[in-house]
Amino acid sequence: MKHIIAVLVENKPGVLARVSTMFARRGFNIHSLTVGPTEDPTLSRMTVVVDGPEMEQIVKQLYKLVHTVKVTEFEPGTAVERELMLVRVKADPKRRGEILDAARVSEARAVDVGAATITFEVVGPPERLADFLQLMSTYGVVALAKSGRIALAKDQKTSKKQLKSA
């Protein structure tokens, strides 16, 4: 089972190396890891997707790093999750229309059209990316790049309100 953890770290040189070295040293597998700035310039946010049952140890070991400020593990459904994917698909002129139709349904955007391929951009929750990739595999995927996941906890108040109104 995959788990998503958000790690707020001090925005210091080498902090990514500290985190990745710790994962390697402790034998934890990283499925994906993204890092970027936050609203606070002194902090960076990492979103790490990890496999495996050792979540408690992973969180504790992250906290042991001096530059780790906060670690949050998201329970399923409690976070907004997004990924970005660029996928280049074989598209000979005869099937182009069919492929573009399929893409429209999946909210994929054609960002580069070549003589024999089309490159799509898909942004969304991981399932949407997976579905689109499966759909495109019948035409032939030539190249693929994925961003890794980013996530933010849902605003609990809003969620509850929405639940009531529903």
Partner: protein, 575 residues
Amino acid sequence: MPEQITGAQALIRSLEHEGVEIVFGMPGGAILKAYDPIIESPIRHVLARHEQGAGHMASGYAHATGRVGVAMVTSGPAATNLLTALQDAYMDSVPVVAITGQVATTSIGNDAFQEAHTWGMSMPATKHNTLLTSVEEIPDAVREAFHLASTGRKGPVLIDIPKDLLADTMTWHRPGEIKLPGYKPAVKGHPRQVKAAFDLIDASERPVLYIGGGVVAAGATDELKEFAERINVPMVTTLMARGAFPDSHPLNLGMPGMHGNYTATTALQRSDLLITIGARFDDRITGDPKHFATEAKVIHVDVDPAEIGKIRFADVPIVGDAKAVLGQLLAEAEKRDPAPSRRPWFATIEEWQAVYPLAYEQDPDGPIQQQFVIEELHRITGGDATIVAGVGQHQMWASQFWGFEEPRRWINSGGLGTMGYAIPAAIGAKVGTPDELVWAIDGDGCFQMTGTEMITAAVEHIPIKVALLNNESLGMVKQWQHLFYDGRLSETELHPHTPDFAKFAEACGGTGLRADHPSEVAGVIEQAMSINDRPVLIEFRCDPEAMIFPMVPAGGSNDDIAMSREDFMSVEDPT
């Protein structure tokens, strides 16, 4: 006008502000600038013969004094030589601050002369490390390093300083407030957990206090004694906790584990409640964790939350400093009924002690048994000595047969098992506690790794004493070859190529003595005790075939503890 000083001066001044009285190290290109202000500084510098030695000296100093040990070396090979000592200190949670020179900022990444990626290499071997980028950072970096090394779970911290920063000038300022938003080590345990722990203690019939080095690190030995007596529970002290509780105390069962005594190991194994304080369920204690103390519930007190649940589930986890939590437990004890007599449990323990004592036989005609040397040393010194061991059979015998009464009088490499630890660590311990008698108990294999630090001891007038138990082999490894490889000895016999150790000690500027026969043992020890102006080494020509028992085979169950070689064979082959 504000005072302008160089980075090198700022570094040494910062160390002075931390109360550093001694630095162990060796100069070289990138750190050279920092060695100039050392000349005027009240800080004493001890010149090691190898950077690994400097690191172990800092560790031995820290063990003996409870203060932060400091090692300072140059870049590249010096930093890599230091790494072993850093990893050693990390495994045993020893507060050490290491300062390494680095090539100039503009040269970093260019494979410059004596460049190594010290920051990257030391990252998993330290509690924290930092590569400085400006001279202004020096005072705060030193303050931060000492704070990190000496608080929470203690450990080594490394500061890597490019040489241009040491030459740059800055306006001297005392370090400001420490800003580490992510670093808040726990002190007090959660009151609810303290109560929950006591509920388990009250309900248990066969409790054991499982005490680790964290109790020594926290300076909690007085609280521990009061607590153990108050709840009337027997105790085992791990290799890192020898001396945390007096061995002469009837509640102390001694060391458990792979080479622990039968009673200590079996008491853990049969217990229904492990009251674990500052210990980490190391594989040398548990054997196969699946078969370790299977009937026991666990209370686990540790300052490092990551230790709790890492190996063994804790029914009652308590994150906190051992001293603070023991204080809370004692306060809770006041509210509870007096402890029960636990007669059946103590009766069982006493029976084990009677049937399975630690034992050896010294044939008066020789060869010298290693245990005999340790017992004679204990008798002649009255036990009033700090014992520093290397790694191997001699280390286990020292831990088994020396009666430890006080904390910080037993110094060894527990977690990493670093051969060669004893001589440099003994030097560090002696410098830190000059009024104490410091005996290194070393093996011939270990001594050949770091014995050149005897020169340091002689030149720097650090009169350590060394009991070298020469069994002409890498004894522990040889033992495994005897037991697990049908006696096929491969590269474990050092004889006849061992040097004349007594002559070696003399050549280093110390005194060298030798005992070949059991009847000579007491005499040479007494002779060594009379020499206090230089290091003394005694080579004891010991039994090359002696093995360390009891023994639980690595990865085996603690139920399968073997008391002797014959016993081991019967355990290994039930037919």
